[in-house]
């Protein structure tokens, strides 16, 4: 959980502010997942902070939902070409990709359960970048 929060802080995802009176904050929750190694032993316990995106109202809290996706046909096409020509195919994975997306809308979330700031429990986070689960 600390790792996830650290990654969020490092990305400058949010800042602690007072909630403007006309805004509704969105709840967040922790989702836990155990990742296994190929041999079945436990690799790590992963904690991910997610926003309850279903509480967002269309038009107010979000406008469009999209993700850039290559059609599988194009992937096959590229692999066919690379294989035929004997090119090396490399693979990269972006760490916490979702947290890299800058956010245009004004979204507030409550502080994560168990990690409220002492003395500032009433404050909320204003998001600059996306969280998982957000629309």
């Amino acid at each position: 959980m600390l790792e996830e929060l650290k990654s969020i802080e490092k990305n400058k995802t949010w800042e602690l502010v007072d909630l403007p009176h006309h805004k509704h904050p969105i709840d967040v929750k922790w989702v836990f997942k155990t990742k296994f190694k190929p041999d079945g032993s436990i690799a790590k316990h992963k904690a991910r902070l997610v926003a309850k995106g279903f509480l967002q109202k269309p038009g107010i809290d979000f406008t469009d939902v999209f993700a850039p996706v290559a059609r599988l046909e194009t992937v096959w096409l590229v692999i066919a070409v690379a294989s035929w020509k004997g090119w090396e195919i490399g693979q990269l994975d972006v760490k916490s990709a979702f947290l890299n997306g800058p956010l245009e809308e004004e979204v507030y979330v409550r502080q994560p359960p168990g990690f409220e700031r002492m003395g500032e429990e009433h404050k909320v986070f204003k998001l600059h970048k996306a969280l998982y689960g957000l629309k």
Binding site: P68, L77, A80, W84, E88, I89, Q91
Partner: protein, 342 residues
Amino acid sequence: MKVFSPNNLLLICLYVDDLLVTGDSQAEIELFKQKMNSEFEMTDLRRLNYFLGLEFKHTSKGILLHQRRYISGVLSKFHMADYNLVPIPVIANLKLGEATDERLVDATLYKQVVGSLRYVCNSIPDISYGVGLVSRFMNSPRTSYLAAAKHILRYLKGTTKLGLFFPRRTSHFPRRTSQDEGNMEVWTDSDWYGDRMDRRSTFGYFFKYMHAPISWCSKKQNVLALSSCEAEYIASAKTTCQCLWLSACIKELKLECKEPIQLLVDNKSAISLSKNPVCHGRSKHIETKFHFLRDQVSQGRLELVYCPTEDQVADVFTKALRQSRFEKLRELLGLKLINILD
């Protein structure tokens, strides 16, 4: 999707947070990785071997794609791991019709099975027809439909030795293939009123480029064809759309795609209909949108070429075949035994 430097070609496929990068210059690939790494936090997974649940095996003869891990996960999820194997996904000439006298089965389970099968179609195209067939009964699944879906799962259990093959250019290939490498090979076929309930036809297409399978489909047509010629003509028109998109894609990648592209069809009247702008009694009702095909043919972008039914690969996407024929077409689809490459 791509980046050019003056002399080298670098191709990038982006799937949300997963990136594939390839090109003719290893140095360019490394440079790209470094640049990306300075911008975002990245994990370099080196050579492609696991992407979107698909596994890749590299050999000296080419790349083999399979989903063994995913399939065995699906089989154990639906408690099918101990069932006996079957050699073909759908019993030959099986027709599923209305079965209102049968018991309804758990719709959620049925949808899960069909959903998983749909994903497996990405590496095992030969089940596409069967999966399309069982997908038609999602709204009220009954015992015979679930049995057909489970039959496909049992077939999959026996495919763990198969993988989709993307060959590498080698001296083993016949000499002529080096000149043919910019050729896209296209097969298209249709049955005629194969669906028992609404009498619509099922069509399929299959595309090969650089001797590797790149695109395929099995789908029920959304209009009713009055003759087999019409069904094939509609199938060819739909294939044309995919054909133009793929050839535009290939050109976008600065690769060669020779024109006219040949569509292999096993129906002679459909071929003459594509050449002849005549409008006679039996074809005058065909919707204008399908004559898009005729327009493309007259522009010289593609042509319909006759191919005997025995060699029609797309046949496997339009009906449930006998085992011997099925196995022959499966080989032509590019599904190879994994161990022969070792």
